[in-house]
Structure formats: structure tokens, C-alpha cells
Symmetry: C2
Subunit: 242 residues, 2 copies
């Protein structure tokens, strides 16, 4: 077995932090399937480590999973700093201060499923190359990357093009009853505080996912679940009720 | 400060395991809001510990959270062993081998939001009183508890009453286009394997949540997300398209 040196292990473990990922322009992906999806999507493999080569003890030191996969790869981080040209027929998602890595990864997977044309996030959202985000995305991160940007400026771009900005709020209009355009920006907010006030002021439409419970019920839905329900209703209307 | 004894700490920590929870018929809930929801829902408080009384060091020893809340309570476990009478107008959910505590907690919260009439789970699903499930349910566990039971027998009960059993499968019929009855049982499967073969054979209808992506996309959706999309479509039809 070819052992990893202490400095190699230190380097790999440091990739669990955003600062070192950004400096080294690289990030970790674990698992055979995830790695092959990355390569199929054109990501560049910088290094890979297999349990059969390095042994279980070393793999569990470098893995961020509680049950390590047989392979861990280090990939070159793509450049995601440029805000793309907004297409007037596109449907986009913007995330305001989403903090939980599991939620962000699940949202990327949802956007991949629903064919969202672009994902944006405020600078204080969790990093898309956080190992937990990468794993929760189940490979969707290799098809849908996030552009971190100033959301107020982004919203003004949509408004200047005459495109609607939707947010989901507990005092919004019933999503199943109000008009939805197939294009524009959907804004989803922080896990506990929702969309920030300054952004709410820029929204053209606020939507509510109604509860169907009789009597006391959950106060809200998880942000990933709310994102899925919102996107599904936009896409369903566009495809089946034109 | 009134310190906890070593045996008290051991007792509380043991509640993170199902075996000791079942033996002691008790489980843990953390956080002021969760605890007050539990008491409002009639759960019996057996003990509670506050950081102001026991200190941060002891709280972090007994807490299962990475950032402990200021209060941890121990509640009496309700009796959830009896399969309720199935109402012919009810909409029920059954979970086959759902293993991830975050998924199960999120599903309970979704069922609470959509007013599902009952939740069932196979015996090999993660335990509803697992601390991570309780936390992810965000208090919904106090309004919607799960009955763990043999799902094949449960399905036969539905069939004998002439009620439909729906499952979501990747080769099912488009959920947005096919007929949905407002009552019956919806079956959701394991995170990687889906619904088991023996149960699939008992389903009357298999549904597909279509992807709206053009080109390569995610292979599937997270089970909690799929549950939300399915329930939402059943409830939307029932309320808005009657």
C-alpha cells in the first residue's frame, strides 16, 4: 500500500474549509458514481485516492463521510464568478442566506430535475463546494453550479428587463390560484428568517404554498421542500395549462 | 449550579439509542420552542435541564446538537403501536425502509403541513423518536406520530376496502396527467432502492414526477422532496379541480 504523507493528509483535510478550497481552486468529491458524473460533465480530476491503495485507516482520516466511500477525488473548481446574461424566457432561482449544506445540496438537485436555467446565491449562503453540499446534490452540482452575487443588484437586472420576481412568504397569494409566468426569478430565503426585507421590497409577486391541514399544523416548510413545490407549480402550469 | 451526576448523564445520553428509549418509554427534545409545542400537544414532561442551571459543559455533554439549545427535555413516549381504523375518505402515507433521520423528520413536517390523515412506516425505517428525527420534524412529531407496522398487511387492508394504493416510480404515469383520487395510501420507498418489489406488487397505481430538464439531469429526487410534490398534487387537485 502506498501511504499518504502527513502533509498530503493535512492538505486533503484542509479542503473541508472554504478558505483553502478557494486558495487551491479545488474541492473534494466522494464515491465512484459521483466521481464518474464529475468526469462525464468535464470536471478535471487533480488527484484520487482509493481504499484499496491507501487502506481503510487513511481513507477514514481524509473522508468527510461517516461511512467512507472506496474512492475520494480532488477536482478543479470551475470558475463561477461571472453572472450570466439573463435570458428573458428563462426561469431562475436565487437563494438568500441559505445556511444548511444539506438544504443547499438538495436544492441544487431539485433545480437540476426541474431544469432551472440558473441558480444564484447571496455571498452569505453556504459554499456550493462544501463537501456536504456536494454529497447532498447527488451529482447535480456537476450540471448546475451556483453564481454567488449581490442579490439586490441581480433583482434590479430582472426588473430592468421587465421580468417578474417571485418570493414565497406566509402572507403571499395562494400559488395554486394566482397567475404564474413561466419566466423570471424565484427568490427563496433563509431557513428561519425567510427572504430579507430589502429583497422583499424588490419582489413583484409574493406567493404562499397553502397548508391543507385542519387544525394546528407546521408553521412552515423546509426551504428545499418549498423550493421544489414552487418550481413544480411553475413548470406544471407552463407544460400542462398553456 | 446543580450538577448532574455521572449516572444521570449516562441515562440521558443512552436515550440517543432506540433500545433504551423503548425500554424507558421516553425520548429527548431540545429547544424552547420544540418543548413548548410538545407541552401544548399534551406530551408529558419527565425531566428538563437548562444551561442556566447545569452549565454549558454539562449541557453539551447531554445534547445531541452541535450547538446545544438552552433547554433539553425528556418526554414520555406516546403509545403508537395500534394501527388506527382506516377512514375511507382519508389520505395516508406509508414509508418503506426510509433510513435517514433528516428525511424522516422532514417527511413528518410535510405530512403535518398537508394534513395527511396518518403516517405508517415499515419496521426497518429509522425510529421517529431518534433525536435527529425529532429535531428535523420542527415540532410536527408532536402532532403527527408514526405507526410502525407490516406494510404488506396494511396494503391489504386498503385493498380490501377498495381503496387505491399509489407509489412513485421512475416508470410510473405522469402525476400531473393521470387521475388521482383524494383518498387512499401513498407509498414512498427507500432512499436508494425505492419501494420494495413485494409492496410494488400491491400498488394499484404507479406515479411519476416528471423531470422538466432538457438534456442530462438528476436521476431522482430526494424522498422527502418527492413526498412533498406527491402530496401537494393530490391536495391541489382535491381542493382546486373538483
Amino acid at each position: 500500500m502506498s501511504k499518504l504523507s502527513a502533509s498530503e493528509i493535512k492538505h486533503i483535510k484542509a479542503l473541508s474549509g472554504k478558505k483553502f478550497r478557494d486558495e487551491s481552486r479545488s474541492f473534494i468529491v466522494e464515491g465512484e458514481k459521483m466521481l464518474s458524473e464529475a468526469l462525464n460533465s468535464g470536471f478535471e480530476l487533480l488527484a484520487s485516492y482509493r481504499t484499496e491503495d491507501i487502506g481503510e485507516a487513511q481513507m477514514s482520516r481524509i473522508s468527510s463521510l461517516s461511512s467512507p466511500s472506496p474512492v475520494l477525488g480532488i477536482l478543479r473548481m470551475p470558475d463561477t464568478s461571472t453572472v450570466p446574461e439573463i435570458q428573458s424566457k428563462g426561469l431562475y432561482l436565487a437563494l438568500d442566506s441559505v445556511r444548511d449544506p444539506g438544504n443547499l445540496g438538495t436544492i441544487i438537485r431539485i433545480c437540476d430535475w426541474f431544469g432551472v436555467d440558473g441558480i444564484f446565491a447571496s455571498e452569505d449562503c453556504v459554499d456550493q463546494f462544501n463537501p456536504k453540499v456536494v454529497q447532498a446534490s447527488m451529482g447535480s452540482i456537476f450540471r448546475k453550479s451556483i453564481v454567488y452575487t449581490d442579490l439586490e443588484r441581480l433583482c434590479r437586472t430582472f426588473l430592468n428587463k421587465g421580468l417578474p420576481i417571485y418570493s414565497t412568504l406566509l402572507d403571499g397569494k395562494d400559488i395554486y390560484e394566482c397567475e404564474l409566468k413561466p419566466q423570471g426569478l424565484i427568490l427563496m430565503g433563509n431557513e428561519s428568517r425567510g427572504v430579507s426585507k430589502s429583497l422583499r421590497a424588490l419582489c413583484t409577486d409574493s406567493l404562499l404554498i397553502p397548508s391543507f391541514a385542519q387544525g394546528p399544523h407546521a408553521e412552515s416548510l423546509n426551504v428545499a421542500v418549498a423550493t421544489a413545490l414552487t418550481l413544480s407549480e411553475f413548470k406544471r402550469r407552463d407544460r400542462y395549462e398553456k
